[in-house]
């Protein structure tokens, strides 16, 4: 009788034991398999291409004359954390781009003065991109920076408010005038209203329309110069080496010296092999920033309650009509070279396409996709594994037929892309900035 009662317990214990043993054997088998599978020359070339040491120096930005001016970065740093750049005095750039969250905010969609419809993208390494926002409706870091300032759901500010802040704060005024020259006299209320801007708000827009064209240009110049200073700061935000970069350095040296490297677990190595191989992740997440900064329809579902985003296809006309694009009068590039804009792709292929985000520090920047639709990296891997038909446009991704252990390996590998921001911590908090990178 006693034995009969014990049977279920014994069966459960046996099951748990064999299950655990199976998991252990699976993990050990994976380790052995990975240990005995050397990287091919092609795989090593791909690993080298992803290695942070392969990142080319940041090119100058001809559209921003102060892009690499230390004082512009100092001004931009102060502005980035200043909540006075908003209609309610509570929203700074750093609300949605929080340094401790790798310059994202941890929310599905960001909240400024109101709730927006897009997930906050990281700013780290963003200076390398020819396009900004998920749909690429901006073509420079400085032009991007102006967008949220006067967006009614983000900062909710306006051009006159921003200009008056710069003119009225002695610290801002000194730095600004040293960079851009003397500010206009804004005390004449007949010429310069307290609040105005070319915005849907009828009061603000009416006030803006009543100004003379030269005065509107003068205010827009201050406004874009604020964007250029913010861009100068954001050009400093670069990723530091991750555990993947350490592994890449080791394995690339080891390939030459024919010694084994074991700083990655078998699971992580398997994930890397999938990432650059059968998983096809590296097709779009390529280069040292793990992004080609281009636009792809990968079948992302729309956010609950929202129509599917048209993505890039809806942004082309916004970009071309934007007076702050690189072809416009506020660009400092007198040659208006603007190759990316002049030879910009249009057409149906861009319907539902969004910009590839960087995967550096991806495990710290959940939730994912343009509207934060996916809560975890496991969800993201599942989406790409299934590659269902896109709600609009054509899904470029193909089903991957990944096993559960494959998916686990991919997520493990993505965790190795965590790393610091390669910048003195003083630059990552509000307050006066003392040192620039590379100076003592």
């Amino acid at each position: 009788m006693r034995t009969t009662r014990l049977w279920p317990i014994l069966v459960i214990l046996f099951g748990v034991g064999t299950g655990a043993g199976g998991l252990y054997l699976g993990s050990a088998w994976l380790d052995d398999r990975e240990q005995n599978q050397p990287w091919t020359e092609q795989e090593l070339a791909t690993i080298r291409s992803l290695w942070l040491a392969s990142l080319a120096p940041l090119s100058p930005d001809p559209t921003n004359a102060v892009a690499d001016e230390p004082d512009a970065a100092r001004l931009g740093h102060r502005l980035f954390f200043d909540q006075r750049l908003s209609s309610n005095g509570q929203v700074a750039c750093s609300n949605c781009h929080q340094p401790e969250r790798y310059f994202t905010d941890g929310l599905p969609v960001s909240v400024g003065v109101g709730k927006v419809t897009r997930n906050s993208m990281t700013l780290v390494g963003a200076a390398y991109s020819p396009w900004y926002f998920w749909d690429g409706r901006k073509d420079s870091l400085w032009s991007q920076a102006t967008g949220p300032l006067e967006n009614g759901l983000e900062h909710g500010s306006n051009r006159l408010q921003i200009a008056r802040l710069i003119a009225g704060d002695s610290g801002y005024r000194r730095l600004y005038e040293s960079l851009f020259g003397e500010l206009p006299d804004l005390t004449d209320a007949e010429r310069f209203p307290q609040r105005a801007g070319p915005l849907p708000d009828t009061v603000l827009n009416s006030a803006w329309e009543e100004m003379t064209e030269p005065d509107r240009v003068a205010i827009s110049t201050i406004f874009t110069n604020v964007g250029k200073a913010l861009a100068a700061y954001q050009r400093l935000l670069m990723p530091g080496p991750s555990r993947f970069d350490d592994y890449a350095a080791e394995v690339l040296t080891a390939a030459a010296e024919k010694v084994s490297v074991d700083s990655f677990s078998g699971l992580e190595r398997a994930g890397l092999r999938l990432f650059i191989g059968r998983g096809q992740c590296v097709n779009c997440h390529n280069g040292p920033l793990f992004t080609n900064n281009d636009f792809h329809n990968t079948g992302s579902l729309s956010a609950p309650g929202q129509l599917p985003s048209r993505g890039r296809s809806a942004a082309i006309h916004l970009l071309m009509e934007d007076p702050f694009n690189c072809l416009g009068a506020f660009s400092d590039d007198e040659r208006h070279s603007c190759a990316e804009v002049r030879f910009m792709k249009t057409g149906d292929e861009l319907v539902g396409a969004h910009r590839t985000p960087s995967l550096r520090n991806v495990s710290r920047t959940a939730p994912y996709m343009h509207a934060g639709q996916l809560a975890s990296l496991e969800d993201v891997v599942d989406q790409y594994n299934n590659a269902a038909n896109s709600m609009i446009g054509h899904n470029e991704a193909q089903p991957l037929d990944l096993s559960d252990s494959d998916k686990e390996a991919l997520v493990a590998f993505l965790g190795t892309l965590d790393g610091p921001i390669a910048l003195d911590p003083d630059w990552l908090v509000a307050g006066p900035t003392q040192k620039l990178p590379g100076t003592r």
Partner: protein, 137 residues
């Protein structure tokens, strides 16, 4: 001495195998006949070797298969990756005739590694013809 020769041959073989300029690119640079066989097109890239994620220019050289250069033709360019069912990430176009059968194509960019197909359409008088370049990037 013999082992040195073997080593040199081995080094050369390795160099050829890992050379960044692929065989397809070399063919494109040396010239490819058009579909009708009446034109010979070649290209040279401002970016050598061709790499992903950098916008750059090409110069296309167009001549008849008999050797005469083709002046002031209309040239257009399209391309993509058949494996991934997408086109080029930019819209390159001919912006200038440089003379001597050379045409400046601006705005070329590739955004993925792998096999690309670039089709160049040439309209010249009564002749309408195309050439397909294959690149492994």
């Amino acid at each position: 001495m013999r082992s040195m020769s073997r080593l040199a041959i081995l080094c050369f073989a390795v160099a050829v195998l890992v050379a960044p300029v692929t065989a397809q690119q070399r063919a494109g640079e040396q010239g490819v006949l058009s579909n009708s066989g009446r034109l010979l097109l070649s290209y040279s890239s401002e970016l050598v070797p061709v790499q992903i994620n950098t916008i750059h220019n090409w110069v296309l050289h167009v001549e008849l298969s008999t050797g005469e250069v083709v002046e002031n033709a209309q040239i257009s360019l399209a391309g993509g990756m058949t494996e991934h069912d997408h086109g080029l990430p930019t819209a390159p176009r001919m912006t200038r005739y440089l003379g001597d059968g050379d045409y400046l194509m601006e705005g070329v960019r590739f955004h993925m590694n792998g096999r690309w197909v670039v089709t160049v359409q040439v309209d010249y008088g009564e002749l309408s013809d195309s050439v397909v370049f294959e690149l492994e990037i």
